[in-house]
């Protein structure tokens, strides 16, 4: 079948390092006292104070999206309904679910709406949609592991199903028991498409 799209940017965040387009940009140094996600935030110069209110899955997802998009210029103000976001992972929001569970134990029952709101896996797609004004398809899937074939199939179908989608931010964002695994891709439909984005200069 004819290739529908190209992957125009990639990023990876593991416990040890950060890669953009397969080049390492940051190593995790044990001496650093700051937590790893905040270290990345400061290293890439992101300015988004809301970041610090988020749970770790949303922080990891926002960092992934920023790494993919930071060198592009595009319309930051208008909601782009020709952009979509599709993310997947294995642990859904369990990292934050465990945190919320601690707030509702019998001897210490103080359920917090600020923690509860992050007990849904797709809040990360929502946070990314808000930050980058992505108004098209937004979906979150859960599967046992980084299943390249299945993930790619869902991506191809999204491009097939909505001919108006020009760009999809897609990939894997998993946070579980202090382990980070973000592998995200920025994909652009092939062909002569009308779009508001400019390639990195």
């Amino acid at each position: 079948m004819e290739q529908l799209f190209d992957v125009v940017a990639t990023c990876r965040i593991s416990d040890k390092e950060v890669l953009v387009n397969q080049e390492s940009i940051l190593y995790h140094s044990r001496e650093n006292e700051q937590d790893w996600l905040s270290t990345i935030y400061h290293h890439i110069g992101l300015q988004y104070p809301k970041f610090f209110k988020m749970d770790r899955l949303c922080k990891a997802g926002i960092l992934g999206a920023e790494l993919l998009l930071k060198d592009y210029t595009y319309d930051h103000e208008t909601v782009k309904d020709d952009w979509g976001i599709i993310l997947m992972n294995a642990a859904s929001s369990l990292d934050n679910d465990r945190h919320y569970q601690e707030t509702i134990s019998e001897d210490n029952y103080y359920p917090s709406p600020a923690v509860f709101v992050y007990t849904l896996a797709n809040i990360v797609t929502g946070e990314i949609a808000i930050r980058y004004k992505i108004g098209g398809e937004s979906s979150f899937y859960v599967m046992p592991d980084f299943d390249e074939e299945l993930m790619r199939e869902l991506l191809v179908q999204a491009f097939n199903a909505d001919p108006k989608l020009t760009h999809i931010l897609y990939g894997w964002a998993n946070v579980d028991q202090d382990q980070y695994d973000v592998r995200m891709f920025f994909c652009k439909r092939r062909g002569n498409i009308k779009t508001s984005i400019n390639n990195p200069s």
Binding site: I104, G126, G136, L150, L154, P163
Partner: protein, 388 residues
Amino acid sequence: MRNKYHIYQKSHYIISPLGKGSVCNYNTISMGESHLQSYSGYWGIPEPFFASIFDENDIDLHRSSSQGQAYSRFESIAITAAESAFQRAEINPDSKDVLFIISTTKGNVEQLEKSKNPDSQSDAYLWHSAQRIAGHFRNPNTPIVVSNACISGCSAQLTAFNMLQYNDLYKHVIVIGAEVLSKFIISGFQSFKALSPERCKPFDANRCGLNLGEAAAAIIYSKSTETESLPDDTIIMEAGAVCNDANHISGPSRTGEGLLRAIHKVTEDFDTNRIAFINAHGTATLYNDDMESVAINRAGLQDIPVNSLKGYYGHTLGAAGVMEVILSSIALQNHNVLRSLGTENPGTAMPLNVCMQNSNTNGDAFLKLISGFGGSNAALLFTLNQHR
């Protein structure tokens, strides 16, 4: 764009606190019955709440595998719904041309209360639970879990539609929506001040929040290159769309932006005069119902009868989109528009034609709307196959 295949409902099944079977549930609610009631001191939750919860002694909540391994409440109701849907469709679930898609928001989250050690919480992983459900039927494919908050059930049906449309390996996709309640979910919605202390009142001027409910529902979707060979009154899924508001993670857009875009995507090239009714999300929270009224008016569909089924079942989260499509499909087949139970005096930001009594319709299509946390919105369009 013309679709390659017609995607249609082959069979379906609902298990809810109101009854077992799609038609049983439909008949019960068409008589105006609901299982919503007050629960006090339940599951160690300090504050009382109004909800629709399964009878703890129901055998369908306590199933086990052929090897005697006990399934959770969540897995048990999902398996019950799927098993009955497969029996009705006369399809072998162990075939590789059958794909499982499971819609849930929290699955077995109650497991976290039972085991504090992350290493023994495998049952809380949604994929693990999904594998047990698909594994019960010896299905060889990796089941896909859709976890898109409240819109999961409709997202899952759209994924099923796309899988059938674009992947020739699959002949049938079963979409299973299931949710059980727990201290985890109820305390969270209470902390959000989103729950109504009485039966919810969708689209009512005095609505004051939602009720939560438990249910499982399954639909088997199949495909055909033409509709002539399909039986009369088969329900066909014409189109679906998911759009994000890109506005707020826990509140809908006041202008109904994402929902409006989703409605536009599914109704373009469709004669909206055919739409018999809109089955809205209608959770009975102030913001959701206002937002839906704005989106429906902006789309120019405000004269079409609108209902919400939350007054019968409460909000069944991951099951809602699947169960409500089944009930709306049966209503369409019966040329009936179900009453929006709980609505007394409609009063939303923009006026809606809320269905106050069961009524007849000549339309041959319905529109399903749903919205949720994460800013996501979905619209699905269904038609009735008629040869005459």
